[in-house]
Symmetry: C2
Subunit: 394 residues, 2 copies
């Protein structure tokens, strides 16, 4: 049969990461490719306890359908947490639970994007956000970006001239893929520009809790005076990703629209998962747990940066992230990271070439390094091996 797909299917291709991850399932492969948290840090014993309690105390509710908005005690906790950490002023009604923050990206596309609308994003930006938005037929304009975030003059120039800009998508903390963090000034200028041009900002913050050093900065949202910033968050990096619980928080009128589209998309999140996380947050100190994650990732980050400094050949530059899961490597302009990957896979070392993180395609001389998922000896071994490969190219 000649399957007649929707037009959008012509633009969608398999995530390069997910394809590489399939290769890296072999245990001998040292993989810097995924964005996976360290599984040895999952709070397994605590999850056993809360899982038992939820089923003992409230099984009829935990296994049943619930509201689209999500379990109120969890939404309340999220609102309080954001208010305390990020300078926001949310109530539970401002929060919709989503099936991971990936779903919040998809719903953002569905709520705001018509075919031909424009999304502004950092250059480079998160690969799966590109896929999520692209499914709604949008175009991207990549805003030039340096170590402090989008360059305000460039952003303002684009907002003055570009037509049909609907969303500005940013990851201000320990960005995926670069590991960079926006300065305070850039956050404020972003919101000023968005307010002036009445454009929505999607502030995606999956890694913000994983700061290794330096002082936390107020969120982009904290500067918002008109409801133009939506905040995305997730338990995937601070708790565990298997539960698929994330959220979007923002102006109540907008969140009501998200609820409507979530109804049609999948009715609601997994009820058990919502209640188990809420019970965990009630019985345990998640900050103690997050501190453990921070310490382990900090050591891995230190080792990653140190090994790259010691081993990578001259001409190769990289970021020194203050938190999160990723560092970003730039090769001389004439080197294609896909060629490097081909060689390094032969030596059982994997990473993600950077080209896919640019929605309009460019900078093939870049790649992303994940440092959260592997024990220290494998990080060093893998980076040394990768350095050998790089010396063939640089």
């Amino acid at each position: 049969m000649d399957f007649k797909y929707a037009k959008r299917m012509a633009h969608l291709k398999a995530s390069e990461i997910r394809e590489i991850l399939k290769v890296t399932e072999r245990p001998e492969v040292i993989s810097f490719a995924g964005g996976l948290p360290a599984p040895e840090l999952f709070p397994v014993e605590e999850i056993k306890v809360v899982s038992r309690i939820v089923l003992e105390e409230d099984s009829a509710r935990a296994l049943q359908y619930t509201t689209t908005e999500g379990y109120t005690p969890l939404r309340k906790w999220i609102a309080n947490r954001m208010n305390a950490r990020l300078g926001t002023a949310f109530a539970s009604e401002n929060v919709l639970l989503t099936h991971g923050s990936q779903q919040a990206l998809d719903l953002s596309g569905k709520v705001f994007l018509d075919e031909g609308d424009v999304v502004l994003c950092e250059s480079p930006t998160y690969l799966a956000a590109i896929s999520a938005f692209r499914a709604y037929g949008c175009n991207f304009i990549e805003v030039p970006t340096d170590n402090d975030g989008m360059i305000p003059g460039e952003l303002e120039r684009i907002l003055e001239s570009a037509k049909r800009v609907k969303l500005i998508y940013v990851i201000p903390e320990f960005q995926n893929p670069t590991g960079r963090t926006w300065s305070l000034e850039r956050r404020e200028r972003l919101v000023k520009a968005a307010m002036k041009h009445q454009v929505m900002v999607v502030e995606d913050n999956p890694y913000g809790e994983l700061r290794f050093e330096g002082a936390a900065l107020p969120s982009v949202k904290s500067f918002d005076q008109i409801g133009c910033v939506l905040c995305l968050g997730t338990f995937s990096k601070t708790f565990c990703p298997g539960y698929r619980i994330g959220w979007v928080a923002g102006d109540k009128n907008v969140i009501e629209k998200y609820v409507l589209v979530k109804q049609g998309a999948d009715l609601q999140c997994n009820t058990v998962a919502q209640m188990e996380i809420a019970k965990y947050l009630e019985l345990y100190e998640i900050d103690d747990h997050i501190n453990k994650i921070r310490e382990v990732y900090r050591r891995r980050r230190d080792l990653t940066v140190q090994t790259m400094e010691e081993e990578f050949p001259a001409g190769v530059t990289f970021t020194r992230p203050q938190g999160g899961l990723f560092a970003w490597v730039e090769l001389p302009a004439n080197v294609n990271a896909r060629d490097v990957l081909e060689k390094s896979l032969e030596k059982n070392v994997a990473f993600v070439p950077g080209g896919s993180f640019f929605p309009n395609g460019s900078k093939e001389n870049t790649f992303r390094i994940n440092f959260s998922n592997m024990p220290e000896d494998r990080i060093v071994k893998g980076l040394k091996c990768l350095a050998d490969v790089l010396r063939e190219f640089v």
Copy 2:
């Protein structure tokens, strides 16, 4: 701020059911409104066991990210189950796990529907399928339907003349909202027409396992010779809905497209839920459990039909479903079920008016009765009360 939503948002409205369900949270309300399974039938003790085992044996995998396609042992089980019961010939590669079968509806819209495309559906049809497809800007043609399914002559006439038909959406077993089941002949003629016109069929089957009497019939898919039928299923009615695990099965090329759009939509299903269900299916006989559900729902169906026969005034007709969760009531043409609902809510009895189940709007003299969720005494009490209200109108 003046929020500039996507055009699709103008067509989306809150599900009437979900709005009514909010009213019915008061414990004194006798509600025939939802589609909720009976919570006292959830296999709680077994779930406690499998939840403990999965976390004991395989926590690093259960709490981590997994593939978009889903947990292979569970996909294999689903393929085998469908092949044994429904006359299909699926392997695990034909099955994609989805966040409830509601997500499979949403993904179907995303894979196939461009703005202005046409979906053919039964008249009436499942409310949340209308919302899911409508988000992609499609139009609906309601195919006239009787007790045996879509009327083939009408379907064929529409396929001959209508432009841009992309999907035919059907629920052949114990349909939501009518409780009707398609005859064998109608299933075969549907597929013949779909093959002739090269149109995809989405065969949604959430209730098929809940047959109270009579012999099971081969699925619509079993007549498909060209890969034009996609099968949707779910564990929500045979296990529990809180886990949000459903599936779509079909031609491998098409399923690959679904995998692509699921990647962008939410990456993957809840890993723990997938593994717990797979462990449950390994350790227990789900047929024993389904038989228990069938027995309880059969008695509730019997009592529902019997009470309606005894109590409802002349001029009110209703279906006598052979399975599933719902019966469908038709009032004299001049009576509006929304007016009846207003009166019956005053007496703390709720149901869903039928109008919303017609995508193009009509038949306001109908309503849906759910009989799965309440104990027998409340069913009788509620229907007697509803009969009193009906006598004011008929």
